[in-house]
């Protein structure tokens, strides 16, 4: 009894208002498919959920506070830990924000290297997402196939910056290292192979009948709802909203590239009951985005300008006092925004990161009503939430 009371009062008062005949199920923080340490307080009537309340914060590491404690350059490795599956974007967002704060001009080659590394990282991150989505639906085999391709990307990125997970590649003013001489043929070879893998992926899982039946028409987020809940990235585009920061508010080298922005339009097909904004659309948008990322990397390699890869940056960065800057980039999990305030010292006065996964968590409670427990797993996977990015 005493233990019950502690856990009941700890979470939220909503839990106390449970109807009779409901089972309260703590799905997490250790659960195979919550994608990290997240807890879902599930009110279930048999297999059908009344609601699922996400409880975040288990992985909070006060990264924003760390940003106030270390120097501007010293914070860069910490940004890797914001999203360990797509560390390049966290690097880039922070670098752009500080560059704006300092009014620093970044050399074009650095912009291109940033775009190449980010797009490769986007593919790697999406591969994990679509692979683990298949695994959460119960198909184990696609996941190793996705991981195999991700290993090749890790090899390429390792050749760029020496790291395979927490890259710490981008710097304030450019990137840490130039591209190795023999890097482009390796990358081209892998991309030619990857085109075929994406075709294979459709035959492997995307067009699997059970997979379609599980995901088509499930947890539909209409476009207005997606906008009003502040969804970003593939989750927003999955609902049919044609918005991509790389095209609509371009930064870095992106104005130079031609690419399409895939949006959800019931990709599952009418027969399976596909609706714009369902779980399958969010999944399939990521598959299609992998193709576009490959196209961007190809263009970037073709047009790669010569020259410096790092701007002249003073050893001690001291931006003007009480200046502030914001950066917006299109990360793998949607728009990532950094907001940095300087008090004129060597350390930032305030660093704030706005991440896609945290926004996606907000919509789960309202979508979960009437779904089954197996659908909650599919919904979490389709939103591609990653625990460290939620909590930071």
């Amino acid at each position: 009894m005493a233990l019950d009371q502690i856990t009941m009062t700890k979470v939220s008062d909503r839990v106390l208002h449970q109807d009779l005949g409901e089972m309260v199920l703590n799905m997490g923080p250790q659960h195979p498919s919550t994608h990290g340490v997240i807890n879902f307080i599930v009110h279930a009537d048999g297999e059908v959920m009344k609601r699922a309340i996400p409880e975040v914060g288990y992985l909070h590491r006060a990264i924003e506070k760390i940003g106030e404690m270390v120097s501007y350059n010293g914070f860069m490795p910490y940004t890797d830990r914001v999203d360990y599956l797509a560390a390049m974007f966290a690097n880039e967002g922070y670098a752009i924000a500080v560059e704006k704060l300092m009014n620093l001009q970044v050399p074009p080659r650095a912009h291109y290297l940033r775009a190449i590394s980010c797009e490769l990282n986007r593919i790697a991150s999406h591969l994990i997402s679509i692979g683990s989505m298949a695994m959460d639906i119960g198909a184990v085999t696609p996941f190793p196939y996705a991981l195999r391709e991700r290993e090749s990307i890790n090899d390429l990125i390792e050749a760029l910056c020496g790291a395979r997970l927490t890259y710490n590649y981008h710097r304030i003013g450019g990137v840490a290292f130039d591209m190795p001489d023999d890097w482009t043929p390796l990358c081209r070879k892998w991309m030619d192979h990857f085109d075929k893998v994406l075709d294979e992926w459709d035959r492997l899982i995307s067009r699997n009948e059970i997979f379609l039946q599980r995901l088509a028409g499930l947890a539909v987020i209409p476009a207005e709802m997606a906008i009003s809940y502040g969804l970003v990235g593939p989750n927003l585009r999955g609902s049919g909203v044609d918005f991509d920061l790389r095209r609509d508010h371009p930064y870095g080298a992106y104005p130079d590239f031609k690419f399409e922005v895939p949006v959800g339009k019931g990709h599952a097909g009418a027969r399976a009951g596909g609706t714009a904004g369902d779980c399958f659309d969010r999944f399939y948008c990521r598959v299609l985005e992998c193709r576009q990322s490959v196209a961007i990397v190809r263009q970037a390699i073709d047009k790669l300008p010569p020259g410096e890869f790092m701007a002249k940056v003073p050893k001690k960065i001291r931006p003007e006092a009480w200046s502030e800057a914001q950066s917006r980039i299109e990360a793998a999990r949607g728009e990532m925004a950094y907001y940095v305030v300087s008090d004129g010292g060597e350390r930032a006065y305030r660093v704030r990161a706005r991440t896609g996964s945290y926004l996606a968590m907000g919509i789960i409670e309202d979508l979960s009503k009437g779904l089954m427990i197996a659908d909650l797993v599919a919904l979490i996977a389709s939103l591609d939430v990653v625990a460290p990015e939620i909590d930071r």
Binding site: P32, D136, A139, K196, N208, A374
Partner: protein
């Protein structure tokens, strides 16, 4: 079994009828056979656990266990030893008695099926005249064990798993039972060996290809047995990504191993049932008419026992492989889809198949007379009808499968590669 023993002993030049303790000898022989069968079930479950992991490894472009013994074959012994030595943890809040006995229900329900399962010509522990009926009823013990374990664990995940298993197995018993009726009607017997005798050794004399109904019934029964065995795409009771591990969430050590022993061993049971009912059982191709001659003359050669066993085991292993491929290919269906598939599709289809089969048997009995219930070769017009169905349902899908596989391999520039085995 006694008949087999009798023949064996007579073959050695003794007459057991003249012995003083004939029944005692038979009892000892029975006990030995029982120990042998349980051991076979356990060893097969272990070996297939290794095989499944190797096949899964190849399918997922990785290697799988290959360190313990040749090709990693002894991995399952290492695993079993580890599980034996682990602590047998009983959760404090669980129902201790039920929690302890639940795995035995599962184990017993699995092991007892071996009493009637055939292994080859005249080879089965007993030749029960209601053999199939016995199998269907005894496998129901498994779901009792799973339900008990789900309840007794006092864990919400286990409860979900137990309830899912109960709903699933009870539902799928119905299409399974109806689909089993199809070969029963065709053979006119519940006895495993009689059903096999009603088929021939060549694929076109198997019940699967004799009529379209047999072909459809094979797939209905296959699906239903997958569901009863909790195999993907019906692995809802232990769906890892949804309910952690389902009914065996709280189990550890040997009790956990019993669940998995039964699950993998069940691969043999379901494949043996399918082989018996639809794939001609132990009938050796091209030898069915000669077997009848030998039986009439009472001179069945010893090598035929071995050959029939080899044929049966081969068919079973092929089916086991198919089940393993399915497990590592398909996603899991949802619980409402699982119920919908059973009640909206399989049950009506199976019902229609039973009626159509009965009608078909009536018609063919009126046309062919007594020949309608015997296996016939291509010398009889009924045999040609069987061959035509075999061409449609057997050869065409086989060719289509080969073409599709070749296309898939060439599209990715892949090749069949066995070097990393």
């Amino acid at each position: 079994m006694t008949k087999f023993l009798d023949e064996l002993i007579r073959g050695w030049g003794h007459d057991p009828g003249t012995w003083r303790l004939t029944q005692g000898v038979y009892l000892v022989a029975m006990l030995l056979v029982a120990v042998g069968l349980v051991t076979f079930g356990a060893v097969f479950a272990g070996a297939v656990s290794w095989w499944e992991r190797r096949v899964a490894g190849r399918m997922q472009s990785r290697i799988g266990p290959n360190r313990v013994g040749p090709g990693g074959f002894l991995q399952w012994i290492a695993d079993a030893l580890k599980l034996l030595l682990k602590e047998d943890l009983i959760p404090e809040e669980s129902d201790h008695v039920l929690f302890r006995i639940a795995p035995y229900f599962v184990l017993v329900g699995f092991v007892l099926t071996f009493v009637v399962l055939p292994f080859g010509y005249q080879m089965s522990a007993t030749n029960m005249n209601v053999g199939l009926f016995y199998v269907v009823s005894i496998t129901a013990l498994v779901v009792v064990g799973i339900l008990i374990s789900g309840w007794a664990s006092n864990s919400k995940w286990s409860l979900f798993g137990g309830i899912r298993a109960a709903a699933q197995v009870v539902s799928y018993e119905i299409p399974a039972g109806l689909a089993i009726l199809v070969p029963i009607i065709m053979a006119g017997s519940l006895n495993m060996h009689d059903i096999i005798r009603a088929q021939g050794g060549n694929p076109w004399s198997w019940f699967m290809f004799q009529t379209p109904m047999g072909f459809a019934a094979f797939f209905v029964l296959f699906t239903a047995l997958l569901a009863e065995g909790n195999r993907t795409p019906f692995d809802l009771p232990e769906a890892e990504s949804e309910i952690v591990a389902g009914y065996n969430t709280e189990y550890s050590g040997m009790r956990f191993a019993y669940f998995f022993l039964a699950e993998w061993g069940n691969l043999w049971v379901m494949s043996a049932i399918l082989t018996t009912l639809f794939l001609g059982g132990w009938q050796v191709p091209f030898l069915d008419s000669r077997l009848r001659m030998w039986e009439v003359a009472g001179t069945v050669p010893g090598w035929f026992y071995a050959a029939s066993t080899a044929v049966f085991v081969l068919k079973v292993l092929v089916l086991v492989n198919v089940v393993i491929w399915i497990r590592w290919t398909f996603p899991r269906i949802r619980v409402d889809q699982m119920m919908g598939l059973c009640w909206k599709y399989l049950v009506p289809i199976a019902m229609a198949l039973v009626v159509l089969t009965a009608f078909n048997e009536w018609v063919s009995f009126n046309i062919w007379g007594a020949k309608a219930t015997q296996p016939v070769g291509l010398t009889h017009p009924r045999g040609w009808i069987h061959f035509a169905w075999f061409a449609v349902f057997g050869l065409l899908p086989l060719v289509a499968f080969a073409v599709k596989t070749r296309r898939n391999i060439t599209l990715t520039g892949d090749r069949v590669d066995l070097t990393n085995w």
